[in-house]
Subunit: 337 residues, 2 copies
């Protein structure tokens, strides 16, 4: 097949996405117009929100139709530029879709420091997931010494980083939630959380209450649903809750938007809730990436990748992510990073 | 009947309370023990939370049984004291129940400034409802110049005061919600809100969107339910929402706790929510009362009372409150304030 390839939607998705919902196709070498860049991708980012996007319910844009490119971020090298401020050899992150090469709107492309290696870091702990974690722990929760922090989806690049940033900022105790014992081991051993609880254990809410007997002072929620309810039940008075994602809803049938907690629990706990949308913090991306890379080099911040090689591996890897079987940041390496 | 009287529960309450759920009884002159005060009440406070308390679901305490005194705050004059720091002639606010005289635990009694007149102010705009409004507008919402404020239950002493305090603190626009045109007129003419919308109008959500086209920056919620949903739909990004009461739930059958909004709306709006429990601010009560009375005297803060005379009028007045037919702070005058 051609050097230029893409992943398209091959059929309507019903339920949780599987590899057969996607197809690999050859494509022509893209032509660029004024204000655009031709980028050779090094890594594709596979993210839970794409599951929501494929069903037409994510603020990042509409769902692709059958035969259309699957959206998603990538990091790569500029091959051609018709935009001021970008030159061949620059590295950029931006909306590419799942393909080997892309045309990127320069106005929406973000130049990144190629000294931060591997380049996949720009999609994970130094990229938007890391910035999300920074917005949560630093800007919204304002984690400080003595905090007792709970993080859901703790294996992922957002949750794993929130817990580590909380520790850097002085949290006394950091507890994670994840969906398997394997994931929990990663959270404890790699990310250094004090404890990670498998929320599929029958007694997980008892484990949670026992782990944080004085109450949770900061809860980072990627999930919603029952996990949010349990966190609220164990919240300390004036606990800060950062609402960041709703993974529990991503695979629900179209139109089903389950209700949330009765506001009475927020009142009773004097809860302080903040909704988080990472797009609001993009101006800080480069500064944050530099800082995060220092922490990585000093060993204070660790990351785990679930990496596959080659565009053809993308559908299978995405299905694994959607089924919750991934550990860490999910990326596809295209052989030139 | 004796000079000493009380109101008791006469039968089990089903649905919205009515006057026949209560009875007036004579009582003996109370004897006080060490640490207690005998207080001759001047005004009783009738409050929506008592509706919740009567059904056993308010944090202030258990429901009374049949034949037992109905709980509630009162303001009155100390007749006898067996507690250090209190003397006959002092005026106090505290838990009394609905009766002409009460035994008050001095540790829970709050001495008030009798120069603040009428004494019923200590139950309304200078008392706990006013302090609730202060906690909302000042401490939690931190209302500032340019804010566009929405207040539910705007006729009541909490909502009416939140809107006026917001104006004092520089809000650009203050909009109320109330349940009748009569109430709305009071909110506009007496409290000086820019506008009050009758949430029983069929098109009230359209009126709301038209009144605050740039979005609500501060919403004080006394209600929950559909009103909260509509406020969130019109919230500006980063809007502050103060969750203070759930009047829409007070009369629901036991055990029914309706769900709340899906957290997705909080995320989308980057909402900043705070649960408010006024008990946390009691240390500020006296300072706040002095400040509020200055604003009353300068004409910056106005109040409306729904007042009945004599203990015998209490059941009927409470039923009126529970049916939402009251306007302003509901008090019973006992003829000595």
């Amino acid at each position: 097949m051609s050097e230029f390839q893409k992943v398209v939607l091959s059929r309507e998705i019903t339920g949780v996405p599987v590899a057969q919902d996607f197809a690999i196709e050859a494509m022509a070498r893209p032509e660029i117009a004024e204000g655009e860049l031709l980028v050779k991708n090094a890594f594709l980012s596979l993210d839970p929100y794409i599951g929501s996007r494929l069903k037409g319910r994510h603020m990042s844009g509409p769902a692709p139709k059958i035969g259309e490119l699957i959206p998603g971020l990538a990091v790569g090298e500029v091959l051609e530029s018709r935009a001021a401020g970008f030159a061949p050899g620059d590295h950029v992150v931006g909306e590419s879709g799942w393909r080997t090469h892309c045309v990127m709107d320069a106005a929406a492309a973000q130049k990144v420091d190629a000294a931060i290696q591997p380049l996949s870091l720009h999609l994970g702990v130094c990229g938007m997931p890391g910035l999300t974690a920074w917005a949560s722990a630093h800007h919204l929760a304002k984690v400080r010494e003595g905090d007792r922090v709970l993080v859901s989806s703790a294996t992922g690049p957002v949750g794993g980083t929130v817990g580590q940033l909380a520790r850097i900022k002085g949290a006394t105790k950091v507890v994670g939630l994840a969906g398997s014992d394997t994931k929990c081991r990663t959270v404890e051993r790699e990310y250094g959380f004090d404890l990670c609880i498998n929320y599929k254990d029958a007694d997980w809410t008892d484990q949670l209450a026992a782990a944080l007997p004085d109450g949770i002072t900061v809860y980072h929620d990627n999930v919603g649903g029952d996990v949010l309810d349990a966190a609220l039940a164990n919240l300390a008075d004036y606990g800060r809750v950062i609402l960041c994602g709703l993974i529990s809803q991503y695979n629900l049938p179209e139109g089903e938007r389950p209700a949330g907690p009765n506001p009475g629990v927020y009142i009773l706990k004097r809860a302080q809730l903040s909704g988080l949308v990472v797009y609001d913090y993009m101006a800080e991306q480069a500064d944050y990436a530099a800082r995060a890379f220092e922490w990585i080099e000093s060993g204070d911040l660790r990351y785990v990748e679930d990496r596959a090689e080659g565009l053809a591996a993308t559908p299978e890897l995405f299905a694994k992510l959607m089924h919750g079987d991934n550990v860490g940041k999910t990326v596809v390496a295209l052989g030139n990073g």
